[in-house]
Subunit: 143 residues, 2 copies
């Protein structure tokens, strides 16, 4: 069993600060769409960051285990929130992953690692809504 802890302290108007152990603090605020200031992380962005981050850390685990020589990993996540009969709710999270590996010999292993990461990611599984993951693996090419 693992425990993860964080504390949020209100600072002013629609803003607070998030603390967890020795981590750099994060300014969190109501999203600008709902009257909050620009330039802060909203809880909604943190949620999809957790999904994108967990898919990455899970993929890194399987990529390393498979001996993949990784050159680049980028994950772009978009979360959609909508009005539902139960109020505002997330209806979908879509994550586009782009993985670049050293050469062709690593492509298939990287594809399998990405698929395993998608299946095992505890954050995706924690969500009620659909989490769609689309991963593309390419070999590195000198430009």
């Amino acid at each position: 069993m693992w425990h993860y802890e964080t504390t949020v302290v209100w600072k002013t108007e629609k803003e607070g600060r998030l603390h967890a152990g020795g981590n750099p603090e994060i300014c969190v605020a109501t999203p600008p769409d709902f009257g909050g200031p620009h330039g802060n992380w909203s809880p909604e962005q943190l949620l999809i960051s957790a999904v994108a981050g967990c898919l990455m850390t899970s993929a890194l685990y399987y990529l390393e285990r498979a001996g993949v020589n990784l050159r680049c990993y980028i994950g772009n996540a978009i979360g959609t929130m909508d009005k539902t009969p139960e109020g505002l709710a997330f209806t979908r999270v879509r994550v586009e992953i782009s993985i670049t590996v050293a050469d062709d010999s690593h492509v298939e292993k990287a594809r399998k690692a990405a698929a395993r990461a998608e299946k095992s990611c505890p954050i995706s599984k924690a969500l009620q809504c659909l989490v769609e993951v689309h991963a593309v693996v390419r070999p590195f090419r000198e430009e």
Copy 2:
């Protein structure tokens, strides 16, 4: 319909950087329990930060609407992850909220605002697991 976007870029070993618009970047990494470095935000911490942050921003909305004179708001969240038949999964998130208001006349309004926030928070509702919220409201006392 609202969309929230974030991008994670792998940097080194088990670490990446999260970007979203003009927000300060967040270093995200595998938790130390799973071999990651200390001092970075893990996806698991970001998930519970999203819950704690959303309960705060939702409460701020209802507190403002109710005309509550707020002095202090602290939300402490603990998420529990466990091995389940479906692999690692979050089984529970518990949030302890401490709200201090200007005087006794604001206590009841603040309690109602906190209860409304708990009910409407879209991040809590996005999770499969139980989200327990325990809010305590106190009037401000000069020490």
